[in-house]
Amino acid sequence: MIKRVLVLSATLFGVMTLYAQNKQLLYDFYEIPQALLLNPGMKTPYAWHSGVPLLSGFSIQAGTSGVSVNDIFANDGIDFTTKVREEVVNGLRKNDEFGGSGQIEIFSVGFRNANRPSDYISFGMYGEGFIAQYWPRDLAILAFEGNANNLNRRFSLNHIATQGEVVNVFHFGISRELNQKWTVGARVKLYSSVFEFKSANNRGYFVTTPGESNILRNTLVADVTLRTSGVQEIIDILEEDTNATQADLANLLLRRSLLGGNLGIGFDFGFTHNFRRNSVITASILDLGFIYHSNAVKNYTLNGAATNEGIEIILPDDFTNFNDEIWQELVDDLEAQVPFETNERSYFSLRPFKAYASFRYNFGEPRTRTKDCGCGVNTISRTDDLGYKSAVGGQFFMMNRARGPQVAVTGFFQQRIGNALAVKTTYTVDKYTFSNVGLGASLQAGPVNFYILANNLLGYANIPNSNYASLQFGFNILSWNDN
């Protein structure tokens, strides 16, 4: 049973693992309204848009660093334990990670403000979640090898770092074209946390050394905390294991999604700046905010220091002080010195903010059919308003993580093909892979917009051997600026 669970875990963390949250294909792909969620100051060539509920934005990303599923599970005849020891236990470093993220847009709507056409207003709701598990290298070695042959080696508890959450987000944003050169935007977000767990910045170690009196001395120094909110409620329901479990779980998730969980607030900011004739720079910063966790909180702590050289009997002192329950006394002392405790203290969690920036050079001549509506914004034919036929540029992504910022650099080429199709291809370098080639397309069929974006296409030649994969797609109904 344990092995099955571990297989499932390995599958979740190995095959399905997702992460990075870098949406380099979608960023500034302004034919797609969902790109507004990556830069509220993006160019908005629409009169209005409405996402198809539940189908307007779906994304899933997968990433592992340091090892791929194929490294471990390839049917290559090599002893499995040997592969795990070499590729995982000894191969991975503490900054290697498994993780995942997904997002589903529940609904999204946008429209141009009739009274102030330079403003494009958008709002909606989406749910997202992620999990990031850093590889606990020292603890893995301790579990795999034990301490007997690792005398004097400190196994760091700092290697324990994990984080995950599911959150529902209500958002409202405005993109304002200040003039021909500048577009700025902001978005306010209300977070409804379904659940969250996080353990980071842990300290301490376990070490076995030659003893001062006895043969060996084991020392544990620990300052480890795991904060959770909403998790225990889910566990309680799952442990019920009754006919009502599924319904209870659905009700709980729905309640906590719709403002019945822990709440928070955040902001996105961004801009687009046109300079010279065909050059554009953009930047955005997302999820500057926090969630205050005050209900269904359960935190776990392991804090203290203890050394152990076994039971000691020293005469003549123990003639008079001897306690025949000396073993239990030893256990009680250790538990008192390094207590494992729980508490329900409320806490703030900062959102893992993200930042994008890009430089873009447009070239090729779009069709020129400019119309002036006299409303301050040149609402013009689609191709013209999109302002390019071809574009090339670079993007930068950064995300704040438990072990410092995670960055990615992307080069891209974008091409419009007629009025109906735009494609974008990217090459991205990050910690997961140096060979991430992505391809995305936005297809317009009448008022219906469909987009699909996929990363690390080279990895699709052998998916298990890939360290990263992502897929995004969605449907929108939209009207371009044409009145």
């Binding site: 599970f73 301490n147 007997a148 076995t208 020293i314 306690n323 000396i326 199709l421 699709y460």
Partner: protein, 178 residues
């Protein structure tokens, strides 16, 4: 050419490949760490031994449930207990270590005799499990009895600055975690 783009996307996404994987290999995973810890430490100075006279100078039984903790007893494959005995007193001494079950029955015992100072340190390793003594000894041990014997006189005093008998012990056990 333009029509090729969506075709390419579809081909890439839906006709991707996967080298053959064998997830059943997980059943072959062996995680067998070797854990080590001191077990107990016994020390008596020569004055205390002299006061007790010849023969048994100490006997005590105490609980010791490290071996029958579920984590150990369920997973232990084999192990070695190491004893180190030092004697800097002026008399030969004997120590008897007995492993007892919950009913007080002796499951195993280890007897030591060490000559008076200057005797070299006596070290003994006792294996349990494959090729050694039965693991059930460890699994069922809930108490340890220690008995010290003065096999010399009760009046002499070693010229060492702090003469004493010391027994150190530690265990190293391989556990089958997976």
């Amino acid at each position: 050419m333009r029509r090729l783009f969506p075709v390419v996307i579809i081909i890439v996404l839906f006709f991707s490949c996967a080298e053959e994987q064998d997830f059943d290999q997980f059943d072959d995973l062996n995680v067998v760490p070797e854990i080590a810890s001191s077990i107990f430490y016994f020390e008596s100075d020569e004055t205390t031994i002299n006061v007790a006279g010849t023969g048994a100078f100490y006997q005590e039984t105490f609980t010791f449930e490290a071996f029958n903790e579920a984590f150990i007893s369920d997973n232990v494959l084999d192990g070695v207990i190491t004893y180190q005995l030092e004697n800097t007193t002026s008399k030969p001494l004997g120590l008897l270590i007995e492993f007892l079950d919950a009913g007080g029955n002796v499951l195993d015992s280890e007897s030591f005799v060490i000559q008076e100072d200057p005797a070299p340190m006596l070290e003994r390793q006792v294996a349990y499990g494959d090729g050694g003594r039965p693991l059930d000894i460890l699994r069922n041990t809930t108490n340890i009895r220690v008995e010290g014997q003065n096999m010399g006189d009760a009046s002499s005093q070693s010229s060492q600055s702090d003469p004493k008998i010391i027994l150190r012990s530690s265990g190293a056990f391989r556990l089958q975690l997976l």
